[in-house]
């Protein structure tokens, strides 16, 4: 629904870098480079970011 605050495996805080990651990737930067740059180095944390599907905007429309 929304990026988890921390990585499921190691506990690194990720919800604070997710928006920057999205913005920079939209601008055309390479995702792996952006992750390196943001200090997301381990693959447990990297899969949290690139497997994330943001459903909250869609579900939000169906609640009154």
């Amino acid at each position: 629904m929304m990026i988890p605050v921390r990585c499921f495996s190691c506990g690194k805080q990720l919800a604070g870098v997710y928006e920057e990651f999205q913005k920079r990737v939209e601008k055309g930067e390479q995702p792996e480079k952006v992750m390196d740059d943001l200090g997301v180095k381990r693959y447990c944390c990297r899969r949290m970011i690139f497997s994330q599907v943001d459903l909250i905007d869609m579900i939000g429309k169906f609640k009154s």
Binding site: M1, M2, I3, P4, V5, R6, C10, G11, K12, Q13, A15, G16, V17, Y18, E19, E20, L38, G39, I56, D57, I59, G60, K61, F62, K63
Partner: protein, 271 residues
């Protein structure tokens, strides 16, 4: 086959003799709240004690109770409370074990609720990363809640773990005369830290070695070996954001001393 491999591995990681020396700590670098220290004169059990001390006995601040007055967002109350609990919170040195602080948040949509929208009632404690996403609110949706953060340790719950801590040995390369400089090991090294130096192969930066041993396996001649120094370790502290790595170590040392005192007292009472 398996046995053979085991013997080979054992040989390759044959350790140097351990010598007793005074402990010294040197900071190698710090980036994104991740600090790497070179610790000399420590044994594996000692460095692991520090690691466990940081993870289990170092007090830090995290949200423990959430009172939700209004939550119209699509995020369930439980999920929201969990997100808030996972959020690292900064505190200053005046905070002691068991201390509590109140935080509040009030928002009306349409908007994204960030950690920066959370107001602390004490300026000495605040959310560590202002950009943490909490939830999203659509038009006419409201969020109003109160949190109580508490100082506690990782022994109770991982949210009170101030850092992710790891350590690794500092390797040394031993290249025999059989090396013909084919550069296979240089090509395979995922960290790219090997180079030809004269007639042998050498590290450009031994501290960056991940100890994956790909170089050892790649050498068809068996000419390259990794030897670990038993007295030197790289201690990696990834702060969750609540305290700086240095503060974490000093606070851990203090907490461990307290624990030792407790043991001393209990021992005195024991018959």
């Amino acid at each position: 086959m398996q046995k053979e491999e085991k013997i080979q591995r054992k040989e390759a990681i044959e350790k140097k003799e351990m010598t007793v020396m005074a402990i010294s700590i040197k900071k190698l670098d710090e980036k994104h709240d991740v600090a790497r220290y070179l610790v000399k004169g420590a044994s594996p059990s000692f460095i692991n004690m520090i690691r466990r001390g940081i993870m289990l006995h170092t007090p830090c601040l995290a949200v423990e109770k959430v009172s939700i007055y209004e939550n119209d967002s699509v995020m369930f109350d439980e999920m929201l409370a969990h997100r808030l609990g996972m959020m690292p919170i900064k505190m200053d040195k005046t905070y002691k074990m068991g201390d509590k602080v109140k935080l509040v948040v009030e928002k009306e949509g349409p908007c994204t609720v960030y950690a920066k929208d959370i107001k602390s009632t004490d300026p000495k404690a605040e959310v560590a990363d202002k950009n943490i996403l909490i939830t999203k609110l659509e038009k006419d949706q409201r969020l109003r809640l109160e949190m109580e953060a508490e100082v506690n340790t990782g022994e109770t719950h991982v949210k009170w773990q101030p850092a992710i801590v790891s350590y690794k040995e500092v390797p040394e390369l031993v290249v025999s005369k059989d090396c013909n400089q084919c550069k296979d090991c240089i090509k395979i090294c995922p960290e790219g830290i090997l180079e030809v130096k004269g007639k042998t192969i050498a590290f450009t930066d031994p501290n960056a070695c991940s100890l994956c041993r790909a170089c050892v396996d790649a050498c068809g001649k068996g000419a390259i070996k990794l030897v670990y120094n038993k007295n030197e370790y790289i201690l990696i502290i990834e702060s969750a954001g609540g305290m700086s790595p240095k503060e974490i170590i000093s606070s851990t040392v203090k907490a461990m001393l307290e624990k030792n005192k407790e043991i001393g007292k209990a021992l005195a009472k024991a018959k």
